[in-house]
Amino acid sequence: MFELNAAGLHFTELNRKVRELLKDGAEEIILKNVGGQRYIADGITGSQKIYIEGVPGNDMAAYMDGPEVTVFGNVQDSAANTMNSGRIIIHGSAGDTAGYAMRGGEIFIRDDAGYRTGIHMKEYKDKKPVIVIGGKAGDFLGEYMAGGIIVLLGISSGHEGDIVGSYCGTGMHNGVIYIRGGAEAYRFGKEVKTEDAVPGDLEIISGYVARYTEYFGGNAAGIMSHKFQKITSFSSRPYGKIYAH
């Protein structure tokens, strides 16, 4: 395990050091005292593990392809931007647009997620990105979503009311969102339909819930004892009919 003290380092220097360690064959790196440095683990490839203590800045793990990043704290905006594969485990909350255009891999967020989480998420054949959110999510969850799975649990924060903001699934045209306990109809974009999750869905959800409790603790059976709402798009061609040819 290699250790780096990020205190006072500019992001260019910190990230250069991380890349150097990875090039030298480091399998595990722990970054201490991270305070808002951007682009940590940006574009890195492989199967290494990076542990972050503190609050990483925007675009953490953007374009990342393979590694596992564990954050002991919150993350700022655009974590996992266009991530290709790998895993992110956040012991805290994520800012806005986590998982923007994510193409594969997994994000587990213990607490809340900001606006536009999972926007433009895609999938291709067996490559399906997944975002599991333990708390609540802000507006525009899964906007323009073109694939993948979002699981919203609403368990880790003691908020009242719906656990998802408004305009959920606006422009969505593929993929699926599961919301524990469901949300009121007005929360959803006009492109999506809601229904109760069926046994096949629950099997998928319980797999991710088991993983969530493995990372963050909690009672998986208790979480699964609630109903789940399933959100999918009416069409894979939401705007196919608006043009005159």
Binding site: F11, T12, N15, R19, R38, Y39, D42, G43, I44, T45, N58, D59, A62, Y63, M64, D65, D77, S78, N81, T82, N84, T97, Y100, A101, R103, R116, I119, H120, K122, E123, Y124, K127, E143, Y144, A146, G147, G171, H173, N174, S236, R237, P238, Y239, G240, K241, I242, Y243, A244, H245
Partner: protein
């Protein structure tokens, strides 16, 4: 109401004395304008289906076909033109947003045609490029503030002309291959557009700019590393403020694999990048790309030419872009809403001059290279663009025309009979990348020589000396504010 109010736009004239009913036209027309009538045992035509792409005329072995404009005129009315009336018929019938393709055909002023170049007479000698060296080599990227400063990554171009962004999806793989082969042959760049990089094109990485747009199609770390530069697409001249929808019917097996989206779904790129709402956010995306590629490649930002383009470009330069590509409102597209294409944005000539002036005034012109596009039709347009301040130009429509495009401007139908703007395998196989790339290379070779002639005539032997040299331009038929924006004198002054 059973009858369509739209009369045909074109008439197919078939010379029955020449026609041998060989059915070549029938097999060549994806619009089904030619049909073989089994009962009559002869080929007949349906004028209403014709888009005037001239494929049948070119392929007819008997020379029996010609296409002309349908002569039926509406009653003369300077305000209600035939187009205005026909567009209402189309919308009244469908309730749809009108689609258009390629650049606007409206008669807006083309400022290239209102600028004249200088030539040496007596007081300084002109140079003959046939006998003397003439330098067109161009480097794109941030230049240091002083000679001692560190030079960042540069794109090295043999000619100040690059092939502009056209995605695999909007055009066929054979068309993409033709462009990549031509870029490689000419020592310049082609651009993936927002369609990802097909595996068969990976070998052309050194001559490819990979684009990152709001939908992030086909973008991963390998893609970012594959190209010679990365371009963030903010906007496009043909549709400023509008995103792209590649319709699901064009997302077949190959496009789906290259864009990494499910088969048959719409590929939606909304106008905004949802992680960019400000210049500061743009800086974030620029640096996320630089970090991902370890500062080894220049990052370009492409925008549409709009009203405040100079201030916007100042912000983009300060956000850390190495190259700014400005796309004028006459620029092409595979599909855009007609009203947007024909009404939004400004001419690239004015935008380019305004941006170059602004960056010079602010003392940051060296920090960024300027590329302009949006209807560069010939070598003179390029020379004028460089004199106005461009480091290089982007061409797309010109390259497509070189490949065989006949400007029927129906790219959005996916039925391109020339095998360019289509994914139909029966049509795409008509385009041979070896032949098409050779034709683009011929065009670029001809332009290269013409550019050298024009430079030599001005007594200049390196394109570098023409860059921003507006004294080499004079305006003709322009008013004072146009001359002022272009930063040029009137002819005779």
């Amino acid at each position: 109401m059973s009858l369509n109010m739209l009369t045909p736009e074109f008439i197919i004239d078939r010379d029955r004395d020449r026609c041998i009913d060989c059915k070549v036209c029938v097999s060549q027309c994806a619009n089904l304008a030619h049909i073989f009538d089994e009962e009559e045992q002869r080929v007949v035509s349906d004028n209403s289906k014709c888009v005037a792409c001239h494929r049948c005329v070119s392929m007819c072995p008997a020379g029996a076909l010609s296409i002309r404009k349908f002569p039926l005129d509406f009653k003369a009315n300077a305000n209600w033109s035939a187009d205005a009336i026909r567009e209402i018929y189309r919308q009244a019938e469908t309730g749809g947003v009108l689609l258009a393709a390629m650049g606007t055909g409206k008669a807006y002023p083309v400022y290239w045609d209102h600028m004249l170049l200088n030539a040496s007479q007596v007081t300084n000698p002109s140079i003959d490029p046939l006998r003397e060296p003439m330098e067109l080599k161009t480097f794109l990227g941030r230049k240091p503030d002083s000679l001692r400063g560190e030079l960042g990554p540069q794109l090295e171009l043999e000619i100040p002309v690059m092939l502009s962004a056209m995605s695999f999806g909007s055009i066929s793989l054979n068309a993409c291959k033709s462009l990549a082969m031509a870029a490689s042959g000419a020592g310049t760049m082609c651009n993936t557009g927002e369609g990802g990089l097909h595996t068969e094109l990976a070998g052309y990485g050194a001559n490819t700019i990979v684009q990152v747009a709001s939908g992030r199609f086909g973008v991963d770390a390998a893609y970012l590393r594959a190209g010679a530069a990365i371009e963030i697409k903010i906007g496009q001249g043909a549709k400023p403020g509008i995103g792209g929808h590649l319709p699901g019917e064009k997302v077949g097996e190959e496009v789906s694999a290259t864009r990494m989206i499910p088969l048959g779904t719409d590929a939606i790129s909304p106008a905004p990048h949802h992680d960019i709402y400000s210049i500061e956010d743009l800086r974030q995306l620029i640096y996320s790309l630089k970090e991902a590629t370890e500062y080894s490649k220049p990052v370009s930002v492409k925008i549409a030419a709009v009203h405040n383009v100079a201030a916007i470009c100042s912000g983009i330069a300060r956000a850390g872009a190495d190259i700014i590509a400005i796309d004028g409102f006459r620029g092409g597209t595979g599909a855009a809403p007609l009203r947007i294409r024909d009404n939004v944005g400004i001419p690239v000539e004015l935008a380019l001059a305004a941006v170059d002036t602004r960056l010079r005034e602010e003392g940051i012109r060296n920090s960024v290279s300027l590329v302009c596009g949006g209807s560069i039709r010939n070598s003179a347009d390029i020379i004028k663009a460089v004199a106005l301040g461009a480091d290089a130009v982007y061409i797309a429509t010109s390259a497509l025309i070189a490949m065989g495009c006949h400007m029927c401007q129906k790219c959005y139908t996916g039925k391109c009979n020339w095998g360019i703007a289509t994914q139909d395998p029966n049509l795409t196989k008509r385009l041979n990348p070896d032949i098409a790339s050779a034709r683009i290379l011929n065009l670029l070779r001809a332009w290269t020589h013409e550019m050298k002639e024009m430079l030599g005539g001005m007594g200049i032997n390196a394109i570098e000396s023409l860059r921003g040299n507006r004294l080499m331009l004079r305006g003709i038929g322009l008013n004072d504010s146009e001359l002022r924006t272009l930063g040029i004198k009137a002819a005779g002054e």
